[in-house]
Amino acid sequence: MDKSILLRNNVNVKGKGTTSLIFAPGLGCDQNVWNAVAKTFEEDFKVVLFDYVGSGNSNISAYDEERYSSLKGYSQDVLDICASLNIRDAIFVGHSVGSTIGMLASMEHPEYFSNLIMVGPSPCYMNVPPNYFGGFEREEILGLIDLMEKNYIGWANVFASTAMGNEERPELSKELEDRFCSTDPIIALQFAKATFFADTRGDLHKVTVPSLILQCAEDIIAPSAVGEYLHQHLPSSTYKQMKATGHCPHMSYPNETAQLIREYLNESIEDTVQIGDLR
């Protein structure tokens, strides 16, 4: 077990089970977004929560602008964590871009994962005319980046001081707790760019690990057409339409989200048994 990686990515392992269930956040907030869903699995699984380097309570000083300028760097975080915890055949649950990051990780080391559960995923957020409509024009993404830049103004000072190595100072501990949805300006912007300008459509056919796509209703970030596109191009994928609306069902509708994950896992375990019976 590599403790430095676990500290770097603020890895938290809970639960009584043996099968690992890794929950990966998307862009914006830290591992706490999964609290409500993850809790329900602690009885049966080994629940693994973590933050990408640069977000939540990760070690910001480990941040490398080059590494984290593409989703590969974030997927390497996942692989590092799997290696440190000696994980095999884990179930990976990712929200939004977190699911793409898990998918990229599974292409590097399929043996780490038994299933991918993708909550509100999109292989490409931008429209690529004439045949693909991810939902956004380039100017709209640039508008988002502009919004993010202006929302950092109030936060910059906090992170300037923590980034300078004042973490051990007690008066800053409250601010550390408040890191939930805030990140260093440069880091969050880079994550946003890596996310919204990514196009992983060309990689989909290479994915070997079976997956579940949880598609929300009225999700403006990952619309149904995008979820369906993903389902068509991702081998061994299961598509499930949720009643939940918006882009954050794990927070807004944790019961339904947990329920669907559990149902899929039960089904896939039954599948495995059946295949075993055929031999």
């Binding site: 914006g28 907030c29 977004v33 709209e140 508008g143 202006k150 929302n151 949805c181 882009h247 807004s252």
Partner: protein
């Protein structure tokens, strides 16, 4: 109170848990240019720009769901007419009913100010990154420079080694060249002294004097065009040839024709290496008291009889190897009383200063040949101060002993 809120100087909005607009005050409606009944029941996305819709999902909802207040969040609203309205929004979820109350304040002016700040910040960041880049490039350049310097030092060392080796080689070659020079002659009939000095290690000048028969002598001085290694190589090839020809007693014109043929053969295939050569050859018979000579383009030899009268042994043909098909004519003169001869190459004095040599001979009739040689060497040294001599230097002095009557004439 209700009315106060409706017209308060800020926007007020109540959302359901899933973002549906439940209530909106008049102030905000006016800003958005909508009527109340149009917006009630619509999703908040309806009044957000596309970037704000994404931002709302990424940050607003998680904060509310995590039971945290939204404070001073900057988003942009979209009016019924598609206009962007920058606002700051504060929001909180009510504990009992889970509806979300929002207060919105327009921030046109502050937005412009922040835009300015952002532009300035970006400029500063760009400048900083440019500076870092420039520093990086400088470091790379410095590193390269250091490597080059190391290379240069290595090269210099090699060069130094090469130079030393070359100098040793050249020194050895100089020794070989000087070894091939003939020794002074001192007989009953004549005395010969010579001087030889290369401008660099190797010389393009050469001389030789040979005792052919008891009473016959062959004396030659030549100057291959240029100086240094290439000239020296040609000089040495000519030397081995003329030594054989002279010692075999060949006639002057045959010797010159052979030397001419030799140069012609050397360079007929390659014009680039073409060299010519000036030379004087004297064939002296001390019994007959005759001097037979050929001057091929060489500075004139000087004859001075015992009474001090002088005669120039001027050029009788163009230089050896200068034109194809040259013929060489001999001239001869006789002497009864003794006399002196000076043969020299053009490095000895400035061609315009040849009168210095005639006066040197004229003014020093009484002294021995060895003393005269010293005086000429001294003259050359004095001359070097004014005339920047970068040529090989070589001369021969001959004393001929005669009978009582002096008598010379050119046939």
């Amino acid at each position: 109170m209700e009315n106060l809120l409706n017209h308060a100087p800020c926007g007020f909005l109540t959302l359901s848990e899933d973002g549906t607009i439940l209530a909106i005050n008049q102030t905000l409606l006016t800003v958005l240019e909508y009527d109340t009944d149009v917006l009630i029941g619509k999703n908040i996305n309806h009044i957000l720009t596309v970037p704000a819709r994404i931002f709302y999902q990424l940050y607003f909802i998680p904060l509310i769901k995590a039971d945290k207040p939204v404070e001073e969040m900057y988003i942009s609203l979209q009016t019924a007419n598609g206009e962007d309205i920058p606002v700051l929004i504060n929001a909180i979820q009510r504990k009992n009913s889970l509806v979300i109350d929002c207060v919105l304040v327009q921030m046109h002016k502050r937005n412009e100010y922040e835009n300015e700040l952002l532009i300035a910040k970006k400029k500063a960041e760009t400048a900083l990154s440019e500076k870092r880049q420039a520093n990086k490039e400088l470091e790379v350049a410095l590193h390269k420079l250091e490597m080059k310097q190391k290379e240069l030092i290595e090269l210099n060392k090699e060069n130094q080694k090469f130079k030393l080796e070359t100098q040793m080689e050249l020194h050895l070659a100089k020794n070989i060249q000087e070894t091939s020079l003939t020794k002074p002659i001192f007989t009953e009939g004549l005395q010969i002294e010579a001087f030889y000095q290369a401008s660099s290690e190797l010389s393009g000048d050469m001389y030789g004097f040979y005792h052919i028969n008891p009473n016959q002598y062959g004396i030659i001085i030549l100057d291959v065009m240029g100086h240094g290694i290439s000239s020296a190589l040609i000089t040495m090839s000519l030397q081995s040839l003329f030594q054989r020809l002279i010692l075999n007693g060949f006639r002057a014109d045959i010797i010159f024709k052979e030397l001419d043929n030799h140069l012609y053969r050397l360079f007929q295939e390659n014009d680039e290496t073409w060299h010519y050569c000036t030379a004087i050859y004297l064939f002296i018979d001390t019994d007959q008291r005759t001097i037979e000579y050929i001057n091929a383009g060489h500075p004139p030899g000087l004859w001075q009889n015992s009474t001090g009268e002088q005669l120039e042994l001027t050029s009788t043909s163009p230089p050896i190897g200068s034109f194809p098909g040259l013929t060489f004519k001999r001239r001869s003169l006789t002497y009864n009383k003794g006399g002196r001869i000076l043969l020299y190459t053009d490095g000895v004095v400035d061609p315009y200063d040849s009168h210095l040599l005639t006066s040197l001979l004229e003014n020093n009739q009484g002294i021995t040949l060895t003393e005269l040689k010293q005086k000429l060497v001294q003259l050359m040294k004095d001359e070097e101060n004014g005339y920047h001599n970068n040529d090989d230097q070589c001369f021969i002095l001959i004393d001929l002993k005669g009978v009582e009557e002096q008598n010379f004439c050119v046939k």
